[in-house]
């Protein structure tokens, strides 16, 4: 297979960018073979530039406005070239021609900001918080209210389908097919979608294939034919890379087949090719230091050399080009200053860069010059700021800086990934939690961690500082919570900026934090249930559920009686919440889940002074059922721990005995897979303790519902666990 060699080239830096707010304009005519780059940022600027003779040339650049631009799409006449630029500014859609003329300002009058937009001829598809709207020539033509937040919209190519079919991706892991104002069907996918794209830009042969990326890093292809949707493939995120932000199709290998290009919020860029079964295979990957918000394939800097253009969160517009390094130096058009005078003024500094391309040197000198100028300016301002302290009555107000944070449950190891990204370098982060949580080591995290002594009586279960390395704008932290212990994780984030401020970000740790939303329900499992009756409204009970469980929309979905199902990411137990005004029923196969809900809900209701009638129905057979669910996990962990202990001794034998064929097959196996075993063991620290904790909770909860306190029997339980076998454990549970 051909080796791809991509070198990074930076074009320019704009303000912070949202996902999918950069597009490549199609090349026009014979004279121009290169694409131009259009990018919109949070400072309200839309700009478009191209590269001509290695010189960066601006096509147009709008003035900054107060409103953040959050999305950019291209549109064009039906069947024609898509060369018109559409951007979202809160509830407004703006359209620009490729020359920069603003031909459209359309106020949708939606109350929430627009999250997603798609343009097809004269049709404008808009998704704001929960509302999908379609405008035909700027008049309202269709409307649909979704049960959960919309993350992306698109419509299948109208020339291949009968009528205008739009696909709305919602955060409840559903792709909804909508025709006019009616939903035709919903299709469940493996994660909460973040972005969707037509397969190969055209939707495949039938025009109904849609590629999607999810917030937890999965990729998939769904065939959404008019009547029956089907899943073509889904790539899981085993290596726990970041969530997917942007997708594109481009033939970067120049082999006639379009590759799938993916960018993620941990800075990962991946190129997938397809095998003979049209299943994707990873062919190349490369990492940036911050999240890559948009990615597009095209030809920008030099004709004949394909490249991937991407934007990062902090506003870098960069390219990964196939053009060899030496010839790909770009000059930016900067205020021209005579270079010679500077190189003579700073002979020492210039010397550092001996051997560097002259153009680059020139650029460096220019930037240095600019920096010096700015430094003087800043020094003056700094002084003025300092002198203000001497005058009474004045204030020190520092504008809020933006923090791009993500707090998501990682299914693979049932822990939360917290990622924090700031548009400038982070100095330090202080994490504080008022509930017990564990911080796990993240390989990509290069900050210096320091755990501080905590005092539980002050409500601090965790006080940890992360001192970041110079130029780190993004940090990832893994947090493990314990179900039933709920509260808040607070992050104080201080960027490396003067005057120094820190911003407070709070993340809820919910009582059933390790559950995730699903749409599956297994009837055959034994079930325990908890029913509530009382004077409460639907909104109230919905807010309680949102308080207890992740992935629940803020607003109650439409309908009088609502059913939601969840699964535990750790044990795979299930939970169903079925509620309406005045009544709620929770069903789960785990006694512990029911017990947590009971405790939290009664506390919440007491706080709100609402009287609740609670009744529960506990099934005795559910406990052995959960133990059986735990069994394979526990057994795997026990064997793993045992095998890892043996590795060193076996290795010693291997060194001193020339021939190890006398060993049993088991031991030989351990020796062969030693590294793999060790790695696995290190990846899951305290896993066993966590399982023991869950079993203990289950034991206590079981007897709590019977009105017995069984805490004194826990030591006996631990003894049983030390000599674990499923039978003896089940026997212990039923004996007592």
């Amino acid at each position: 297979m051909m080796e791809l060699n991509l070198s990074r080239l930076d074009y320019l830096q704009t303000g912070t960018t949202s996902p999918n707010s950069m597009q490549l304009l199609p090349a026009t005519g014979k004279k121009e073979q290169t694409n131009k780059v259009a990018v919109a940022d949070h400072s309200g600027v839309v700009q478009c530039f191209g590269i001509k003779k290695k010189e960066l040339q601006s096509v147009f650049k709008t003035l900054p406005s107060q409103v953040k631009l959050t999305r950019m799409e291209l549109g064009g006449p039906p069947g024609g070239i898509r060369d018109r630029i559409f951007v979202c500014a809160h509830s407004e859609i703006r359209g620009f021609s490729k020359k920069g003329k603003q031909f459209l300002t359309f106020e949708t009058n939606l109350t929430d900001p627009i999250k997603a937009v798609y343009v097809e001829g004269g049709e404008l598809l808009v998704g704001s918080n929960y509302i999908y709207n379609r405008y035909t020539d700027c008049t309202d033509s269709a409307y649909y209210l979704c049960p959960d937040r919309i993350s992306d919209v698109l419509c299948l190519p109208p020339d291949k389908t009968d009528g205008l079919l739009s696909v709305v991706a919602c955060e409840d892991k559903m792709l909804r097919m909508i025709q006019d104002s009616e939903m035709i069907y919903e299709f469940e996918i493996g994660g909460s979608p973040s972005t969707t794209k037509l397969y190969e830009g055209t939707g495949g042969e039938e025009g109904d294939e849609v590629i999607y990326g999810t917030r937890d890093g999965k990729l998939g292809l769904a065939q959404l034919s008019r009547l029956l949707p089907s899943q073509k493939w889904e790539v899981s995120n085993d290596k726990q890379h970041g969530g997917i932000l942007s997708l594109d199709h481009y033939d970067i290998y120049a082999d006639g087949i379009q590759e799938l290009i993916v960018s993620r919020d941990d800075g990962m860029i991946e190129i997938y090719g397809y095998d003979e079964n049209d299943e994707p295979i990873l062919r190349h990957h490369q990492t940036f230091a911050e999240s890559v918000t948009s990615i597009r394939g095209g030809v920008v800097s030099a004709p004949g050399y394909d490249e991937l253009v991407c934007t990062t969160y902090s506003g870098w517009v960069s390219s990964l080009t196939t053009e060899p390094e030496s010839s790909s130096k770009i000059k930016t058009s900067m205020p021209s200053t005579p270079v010679s005078s500077h190189s003579s003024a700073e002979p020492v500094k210039a010397e550092q860069y001996v051997g560097i391309n002259h153009d680059t040197l020139e650029r460096i000198v220019r930037i240095k010059d600019e920096i010096e100028e700015l430094q003087n300016k800043v020094a003056v301002e700094r002084e003025r700021y300092q002198s203000m302290a001497a005058q009474g009555n004045s204030i020190s107000a520092v504008p809020h800086f933006q923090v791009n944070n993500k707090w998501r449950l990682s299914r693979a190891d049932a822990s939360y990934i917290l990622s924090i990204e700031v548009h400038t370098a982070i100095d330090f982060i202080l994490l504080q939690s008022d509930v017990p949580v564990d911080l796990l080591d993240v390989d990509r995290n290069q900050a210096v961690v320091s755990y501080s002594a905590t005092s539980v009586e002050d409500g601090n279960y965790l006080l940890t500082t992360y001192r970041c390395q110079a130029n780190a704008t993004r940090i990832e932290i893994k947090v493990r919570s314990i179900e039933g212990q709920y509260g808040r994780l607070t992050a104080y984030i201080a960027p490396r900026l003067h005057p120094k401020v820190c911003c407070v970000n709070e993340f809820p740790i919910k009582p059933l934090s390790l559950h995730e939303r699903t749409h599956k329900w297994d009837d055959t499992r034994p079930s325990n249930s908890l029913s509530l009756r009382g004077q409460f409204s639907l909104a109230e009970v919905h807010s309680w559920i949102a308080f207890c469980l992740p992935d629940v929309p803020d607003r109650a979905p439409p309908g009088e009686k609502i059913t939601m199902t969840f699964a535990s990411t750790f044990l795979n137990t299930q939970l169903e919440c079925c509620y309406s005004a005045g009544e709620a029923v929770f069903t789960s196969d785990s006694v512990s889940t029911i017990s947590i809900l009971k405790d939290v809900l009664s506390k919440e209701a007491t706080n709100k002074k609402i009287r609740l009638d609670m009744s529960y129905d506990i099934s005795d057979s559910s406990v052995p059922h959960v133990l059986e669910l735990i069994h394979p996990l526990l057994e795997e962990q026990l064997t793993l721990a045992k095998n890892v202990q043996l590795i060193d001794a076996l290795k010693d034998l291997q060194v001193h005995e020339t021939d190890v064929s006398f060993l049993s097959d088991d031991y030989k196996g351990i020796l062969e897979n030693a590294d793999e075993l060790k790695e696995k063991y290190q990846r899951q620290p305290c896993y066993l303790q966590r399982l023991y904790g869950i079993i203990t909770d289950l034991f206590i909860d079981k007897y709590k519902f019977k009105g017995q306190n069984s805490k004194n029997k826990v030591p006996a339980l631990m003894e049983v666990l030390d000599n674990y076998s499923l039978e003896s454990l089940i026997a212990f549970f039923s004996r007592n």
Binding site: S396, F428, S452, K500
Partner: protein
């Protein structure tokens, strides 16, 4: 083959061909000689015919391996291999497969170095053990002995003071680097963690590495630079900047070496890390000029003419036996300054080869430089924007402007807000031990939300966070500090100031120093019994200078003034609760009364540094310490006696065991199963006895070591009483 960390050495054992000697598991040293295979086997040495690897059985856990020659001028006679174990020290001639000498070293030998020390004539190999340093010449005669503060972890010989004689540099577990000019301490450099490695560099500089992941270079008493490494990236701090703090790093350096890799005539510092990474830094500022990775932890770094092509090359060994080599760049290449060649493979007991040529510098440097500059520009622009917005906001302040609530949420504070800090001593309560209280308060109605204190050496990690619950937040915050050693501490504070409901806080950054003797409370009249121990000495200084010294080094609520002609001041040591009194007569006679010899020594040392006294005659009397010393000595005697008795018993037992085995095997051959069974049963019992005996012996030995350590420490403390 596995390699124990830090136990890699390269020697020319036959005087011509280089060999690598590394300690491996099971008390063995393997010797890899690719050019001249070992010829003589037998005894300790085992190996197969012409194989390039031979194994040396030591039968004890090995604590140090070095090679070197007693004859520095003429190395053609071949290098000697030195092996240190916890109880013994062996000098071994590999070429002739003979022991040169074998010495018992009760203090063990954790670190070894060979060379000429000070004005001593003979080349010696110096072994550093449990607080002690012993030097042996080529006949195994002890030619040097002294003590140091704690377990020795690293040794190096460097001409520290440019007198053309080597000084011995000792890194020990009490975080100190001591420089010995023969047996007198020339300098003491305090570090913040266990000193793992020391290495000599060009121009009499030396590099060091600490357990917490710090690497640095000293030029005499001054630290040129140090770097704290956390995982992959580095924070470089040159002296005079303060943004540098400590923390237990996830990695620690496993070996340190100096070698002129880029051929510029100056040695670079090469550090190997426990995660398999190694990097090459310049000696002046610590910039990384090259870095690479091994698959597993780096075990050792050596250099030598290993390829026998006349070029010195650098060899890096990993714990799993992987070796990587790098050629030195020739000077003409160096001017262009890029490539380092990989050398051929030499991995004992494992495959793998060296890669082709490696690039010293990332080709993308220019792009990176540009990116960094643009980043800086962006930062400046952002800062400028902050000031602009601030100005805008301050103009907006009028009744109809920002609401009170908004203002609080935004964290807008009066521009004249300042932060005051004060330090007080607290004797503590029954729950909380004695401590120093740091009080942080704001100058107006704003509140202190949280404070982070970065300081070296007093917290478990690099910093301490105070984050009170919402109801306890106020204008003032009090933090207790527990310094457990007497040394000055720089506290760097980051204080979050705003309002209770703010979502954004101003961060105030300030520094404060905790004086060296902060844990000593001033007492006016003393109820405490007068300490029996005291030191007296005479100095020719005015009392005012001493008063100044007291004010600088003790934490006093107000400046101490001396009224009479004589100075008399009493303190209570908060940690030990004992009294410390300091008197000075008008004639310059100073008496320090305390039962703690350590405190007295510390006071004298600080005073001498303050007054620039090089030599001071001191009379000391510490009856308590002397009594302790006596006790320890008698205990040591007991342990020695017990040890000998146990050894005798063990010899007895092993004789019986030999007998039993012979008898049992005889019985087996004769088919007399019954007596065979009986003999084996007896054997089993004796074996059990032997194991029990061993356990007793080993506890006895640990106790003995403890005593010896205390003994050495008392000697060290007493030594420090001298000026």
């Amino acid at each position: 083959m596995k390699i124990n960390p830090r136990m890699v050495s390269l020697g020319y054992f036959d005087g011509k061909h280089p060999s690598l000697a590394c300690a491996t598991t099971g008390g063995k040293v393997f010797i890899h000689s690719p050019h001249a295979p070992q010829e003589i086997y037998g005894g300790r040495l085992e190996g197969k015919g012409n194989s390039s690897i031979s194994l040396l059985n030591i039968n004890q856990s090995i604590s140090a391996v070095i090679s070197g020659s007693f004859n520095e001028e003429d190395r053609s006679s071949g290098d000697t291999l030195f092996i240190g174990t916890p109880t013994n020290f062996l000098a071994y001639n590999v070429h002739s497969n003979t022991d040169l000498f074998y010495k018992e070293t009760a203090d063990g030998s954790n670190a070894l170095v060979i060379g000429k020390l000070g004005g001593l004539e003979k080349t010696m190999v110096i072994a550093g053990g449990n607080c002690s340093l012993q030097g042996f010449d080529k006949d195994g005669e002890e030619g040097f002995w002294t003590v140091t503060g704690d377990n020795v972890r690293s040794l190096e010989l460097v001409d520290f003071n440019n007198d053309n004689q080597n000084e011995l540099i000792v890194g020990s577990e009490d975080f100190d680097i001591r420089v010995f000019q023969e047996d007198a301490i020339l300098a003491e450099l305090s570090e913040t963690d266990v000193i793992l490695d020391l290495c000599r560099m060009s121009d009499n500089k030396f590099g060091y590495s600490l357990n917490n992941g710090t690497v640095g270079v000293y030029d005499k008493n001054t630290r040129l630079w140090r770097i704290k490494v956390s995982k992959v990236l580095y924070i470089i701090t040159l002296p005079l900047t303060f943004n540098y703090f400590f923390q237990k790093s996830k990695n620690h350096p496993t070996s340190l070496h100096s070698f002129d890799l880029n051929g510029d005539g100056v040695d670079e510092l090469i550090t190997g890390w426990s995660n398999g990474k190694f990097d090459v830094r310049t000696d002046k500022a610590g910039e990384v000029i090259y870095k690479d990775n091994m698959k597993t932890a780096v075990a050792g770094i050596v250099h030598g003419n290993y390829k026998m092509d006349g070029n010195e090359c650098l060899i890096i060994a990993s714990t799993e036996g992987e070796l990587k080599g790098f050629n030195q760049i020739s000077p003409e290449n160096a001017s262009r300054g890029i490539a380092v060649d990989g050398i051929t493979s030499a991995t004992p007991g494992g495959g793998g080869g060296f890669g082709g040529s490696k690039s010293l510098q990332d080709t993308n440097t220019e792009q990176e430089a540009l990116r960094e500059l643009t980043q800086r520009k962006q930062n400046l622009l952002l800062e400028l924007r902050n000031y602009e917005e601030n100005l805008k906001a301050s103009k907006m302040i009028r009744p109809s402007g920002l609401g009170e609530l908004d203002q609080k949420e935004m964290g807008i504070i009066p521009a004249d807000t300042t932060i005051q800090t004060s330090l007080t001593i607290s004797a503590g309560t029954t729950h909380v031990g004695p401590h120093v209280n740091l009080i942080i308060s704001t100058s107006n109605e704003t509140i202190v939300r949280s404070a982070i204190i970065f300081a070296e050496g007093i917290f478990e990690n690099e910093c301490h966070v105070s984050h009170p619950p919402k109801q306890k937040i106020g204008q003032e915050m009090s933090i207790s500090l527990f310094p457990n050693k007497d040394f000055p501490i720089d506290l760097h504070l980051k204080v979050f100031v705003g309002y209770k409901s703010s979502t954004q806080f101003h961060v105030f950054e300030l520094s404060r120093q905790l004086p060296k003797f902060s844990m000593y409370a001033l007492i006016t009249k003393t109820d405490l019994p007068e300490p029996a121990g005291h030191v007296t000495f005479k100095i020719h200084e005015r009392i005012n200078r001493i008063v100044l010294w007291i004010n600088q080094n003790f934490l006093l609520s107000e400046d101490f003034k001396c009224d009479g002609p004589d100075l008399n001041i009493n303190f209570q040591a908060l940690r030990t609760l004992g009294a410390v009194s300091f008197t000075m007569t008008g004639r310059g006679e100073v008496t320090i009364r305390t039962n703690d010899m350590d405190v007295a020594a510390d006071l004298i040392q600080t005073l001498c540094t303050f007054l620039n006294i090089e030599d001071l005659q001191v009379t000391a009397d510490f009856p308590e310490e002397m009594e302790k010393l006596g006790n320890i000595l008698s205990k040591v005697d007991e342990f020695h006696a017990a040890g000998q008795k146990l050894t005798a018993e063990m010899a007895d037992h092993s004789n019986i065991i030999k007998n039993l085995i012979v008898r049992a095997e005889d019985a087996r051959l004769l088919g007399d199963i019954k007596s065979m069974r009986k003999n084996y049963m007896d054997l089993f019992n004796f074996n059990k006895d032997l194991i029990n005996g061993y356990k007793v012996r080993s506890t006895n030995h640990t106790e003995l070591l403890n005593c010896l350590k205390q003994l050495n420490q008392i000697i060290q403390k007493a030594g420090k009483l001298r000026g």
